[in-house]
């Protein structure tokens, strides 16, 4: 057994490190109350098995709760933080049982069945009994490492705990300062090594479970492309977004974010305009207007522009999952989006912003599954007119871009439409689409960038290459162009358009000047990637496993959306709370039923049949009990009375006489009542009573003097 209080301190440590101090305190008190309470239960093997079942049930309940709160299956290891609480029932059963150990086969159904079979065949089986305290301690420490927020606090706590354990053991063996000092040094070293290992393990798990697909390292401000990487693009066939179209045609491309500055395979959003009168803040986020009596937000690039007319129902509804680890998640929107509504579940800290390129981001989301509605207009109200950033070409790329531009004579073409046509022809005839990322030349002389290699050598690549190359070439030709990422909507399932990782796409926004001078022009989607890319993942989409996981994903997303409604939240909490209450009550009841009742002889008392007279000796029984203790139920009165000779050795004759006459009156059927026997036993009993009184007084006195 661990030294007293060690388990309790460990649980408190767990509580403080994982941010659940109250739960840690309750668990610690429950475990440590063993030292202060004398109550012990006589548990049988079935009770231990039940306790283990309750532990498993608790773990399942925790898993369900975390699922309801949106934990994904690949993050299940994070639930290990709760292991000390889940294992509490079995640990408590072990500690409060009279055996103070539990059979090892409690944890295995098959081992128990084998033991039953052995018993049935008459083999002698002795299940191995174990203490679970130290394993429980280890589990608690591991869980603490899982949930620790600060490594230094954790290290200090671990050192302290191990020092306590060592101190208690050293105290038993005699205290030696040198040994103590060396041990403390070893402890600190071992603890930090163990701690380093535990944190590495935790980080490994955390990183392995982190979602790794291309749109997840994209924010509203920056998009890390796969341009210049090696190997094969792993396109996830998971559904990222679902789109429901209520009115009008479905948009072919749904834009997540737009960027205007390219450097080293990273597209960024750069806001140059520091005009204090501009209707947006210094980071380039537009003002927004929330329509009265609704949560519909309208984004406008210009203050003066009239509010659009919003008519219910909305044209589109988007459902999908965002990454709660990112501070700002860009939301997919079709072009000409004017207003977003129906996000009732933003949370107090969250906010929606729209930047000058029309990217709408959700900052500090409270839930990771969201649903929102979209109203579109006739033209774009959120994207600013082009500025010099939209014509900027990075210095590294300029040479090859100029070379290609001159080959195609782009600058000489009279209008934007013809330039686009020339480029489209160039890309469809000379280039191939591939998700295999080519190996760049490894020699030092090769100082080319990925885009220049794509344009001049390999001529194969995926959409990011095409979109980036198109953007830079059009900019070279004097056409303001922006790069954007998003999804292509081309898979329909019943009434929803599904956007998977396979459908993630990159394309351009091109500024088309208008013919009349009143209105400067508008931004338009341009996608020059060869159309063959859309059929690449066909095989992946229709596998039955995919269908099953899609169905599960949609179900859980819809459930999470339903749960996050304010009215339903309380309902869910009520259901969960009542489930827990019922479970707890049921556990308590089962525990109460399964305790083995102690052989209480007071419960069974002999009730003589009617008509049988009790002798005066029977009436003396309570008084005798004060000296002799309670009479066992199977012990005849004379035999019990014989024990009195130890306390009153000089009265043995009186006691024998009393026993004989009691037996005679009670069990000889012919003795009439009122016989001389009755009178004799009366006087004998009075004598005995006097002796008993003096004996009790004597005992009291001796107790006081002690």
């Amino acid at each position: 057994m661990p030294p007293r209080l060690l388990s309790g301190i460990t649980l408190l440590f767990w509580g403080s490190m994982t941010g659940h101090p109250v739960l840690g305190l309750i668990a610690a008190l429950l475990l440590e109350s063993k030292s202060w309470l004398t109550t012990r239960w006589e548990f049988g093997p079935t009770t231990y098995v039940r306790a283990w079942h309750y532990s498993v049930l608790c773990a399942t309940l925790i898993a369900i709760l975390s699922w309801i709160n949106g934990t994904k299956a690949n993050q299940l290891h994070s639930l290990f933080i709760w292991a000390p609480l889940a294992l509490l029932p079995i640990e408590l059963a072990m500690r409060f049982g009279t055996a103070n150990k539990i059979p090892l086969n409690t944890f295995s159904f098959f081992a128990r069945r084998k033991m039953q079979e052995d018993e049935r065949l008459g083999r002698q089986v002795e299940p191995r009994m174990i203490h679970t305290s130290y394993p429980y301690l280890a589990v608690t420490l591991l869980a603490t490492a899982m949930g620790s927020r600060s490594e230094w606090h954790h290290l200090a706590g671990m050192s302290l705990l191990i020092a306590i354990a060592l101190f208690f053991n050293a105290r038993k063996a005699g205290f030696r300062p040198w040994a103590w000092a060396v041990s403390i040094g070893c402890i600190i070293a071992l603890t930090s090594a163990g701690q380093w290992g535990m944190f590495k393990l935790r980080d490994y798990y955390r990183s392995s479970s982190a979602p790794d697909h291309e749109n997840h390292h994209s924010s509203a401000d920056e998009s890390r492309t796969s341009i210049g990487r090696l190997g094969r693009l792993k396109l996830s066939s998971r559904i990222f977004w679902r789109m429901r179209v209520h009115q009008g045609p479905p948009p072919p491309l749904v834009r997540v974010a737009t960027y205007n500055r390219y450097a080293n395979a990273v597209w960024k959003y750069q806001y140059l305009d520091r005009d204090p009168n501009a209707p947006h803040d210094e980071l380039g986020y537009l003002g927004q207007t929330i329509l009265p009596q609704s949560d519909i937000r309208v984004f406008k690039d210009q203050e003066s522009a009239p509010l659009p007319v919003i008519e219910e129902p909305a044209e589109l509804t988007m459902i999908g999952e965002i990454n709660p680890r990112l501070i700002d998640n860009p939301l997919p929107l079709p072009h000409f989006t004017q207003a977003i509504g129906g996000i009732a579940k933003l949370g107090p800290e969250s906010n929606l912003d729209c930047n000058t390129l029309g990217t709408v981001r959700l900052a500090n989301p409270e839930y990771h599954v969201i649903q929102y509605q979209i109203w579109r207009g006739k033209h774009s109200t959120t994207e600013r007119a082009p500025d010099k950033t939209d014509l900027d070409i990075p210095a590294k790329e300029q040479a090859s871009i100029r070379k290609i531009s001159e080959e195609l004579k782009l600058k000489e073409l009279p209008n934007t439409a013809l330039k686009i046509q020339a480029l489209r022809h160039f890309f469809t005839t000379e280039f191939a689409y591939s998700t295999h990322l080519n190996t760049p030349g490894l020699s030092k002389r090769n100082r080319r960038t990925a885009i220049s290699r794509f344009l001049e050598e390999t001529r194969t690549g995926h959409c990011e290459y095409f979109a980036t190359a198109t953007t830079l070439l059009l900019r070279e030709a004097g056409v303001p162009t922006r790069y954007c990422i998003g999804f292509a909507a081309d898979e329909k399932d019943q009434d929803e358009w599904l956007m998977r990782g396979l459908d993630a796409h990159a394309w351009c926004r091109v500024w088309i000047p208008s013919n009349d001078s009143t209105h400067g022009g508008h931004w338009q989607d341009l996608d020059l990637t060869p159309p063959s890319w859309q059929h690449l993942g066909e095989g992946k989409r229709n596998q039955w496993q995919r269908k099953l996981s899609d169905w599960w994903q949609m179900l859980s997303e819809d459930f999470l959306l339903w749960r996050s409604e304010e009215s339903n939240r309380s309902q869910v909490s009520t259901i969960i709370a009542s489930l827990i209450a019922v479970l707890t009550l049921w556990i308590a009841w089962r525990l109460w039923k399964s305790r083995r009742p102690r052989q209480s002889h007071t419960a069974k008392v002999y009730h003589p049949p009617s008509g049988v007279s009790q002798t005066p000796l029977n009436r003396l029984e309570p008084q005798l009990g004060k000296i002799l203790g309670p009479r066992p139920v199977g012990m005849p009165l004379p035999e019990w009375l014989a024990q009195l000779t130890e306390h009153l050795p000089e009265q043995s004759e009186l006691i024998n006489k009393l026993s004989e006459s009691h037996n005679h009156i009670r069990f000889c059927p012919d003795v009439p009542s009122g016989s001389p026997e009755d009178q004799a036993i009366d006087s004998l009993c009075k004598q005995l009573q006097r002796q008993l009184k003096s004996c009790q007084k004597h005992r009291k006195r001796s107790n006081h003097s002690d």
Binding site: V633, G634, P636, C668
Partner: protein, 311 residues
Amino acid sequence: MSAQASALALEQSVSQIIRGQDHTIRNVLACLIAGGHVLLEDNPGTGKTTLAKAISKSIRGAEFNRIQFTPDLLPSDILGVSILNQQTSAFQFHPGPVFTDILLADEINRASPRTQSALLESMAERQATIEGRCHPLEGLFFVIATQNPVEFRGTYPLPEAQMDRFMMQCSLGYVAPEEEVQILQSQNEGHPLEQLEAVTSLEEILKLQQSVSSVKISDELCHYIVTLSNATREVEDVRLAASPRASLALMKVAQALSIFEGRDYVIPETIQRIAPAVIAHRLVLAPEAKFNGLTGKAVVDDILASTPVPV
């Protein structure tokens, strides 16, 4: 001579030979007086045969026979046989060793079941059926059967029905060292059994047997006896529990013991003292319980401790 006096005289006489076994001797004699038969299960050399001989020698005119049971023993070897008398050319019945007052059936579990059941009928019905004719067993017919628990090879365990025919099962066990020293000293100059004088007569024993029924027992204690028997039927590990015959035997032995104790009524202590010897051997336990070390005596002790006793 009162009933108690003649009973105690018999006890006294037997305890001269069998030392340090007063408790068992009294139980066996109570069984004799109650009209039952006794089964002694014990290790070899503890004095089972000597006990039987001592009882028969203490009773004047009591005939004593002994049968050594072996696997080839036949029923006719016990009951007797009719043999053709060549002079009269008629069958003449030669009674077997069972026609006696005190019969020692030594190592009864060595005989085949067929032979065992021949004795079984005699014990239960007090008659022997030989070649279709019933011969009543007259006078005192008291069987002391012995069996050795350790000798499992070449034995036929007694069937449950036969165990039930024995009123009680006792064991002598090993005596205390100082008693054993006395046994050595007394047997140094010849066996004391040879000098043993009879102290009572067959008639007196028969009279004693009749006087057992005059010992009073209250309704309450009859209920108590039945409660004890019933309790064995509710124990989970007991396959075959105590029968009404067991309750009857318990009552009779308790009455007989009361004569020894000089009481003309039965008290609960007497019933409690004798209950394990009367009931335990009749119980058949579940094999798994047996493997776990449960014994019939433990079951009875447990019942005695948990059944409320009339006080």
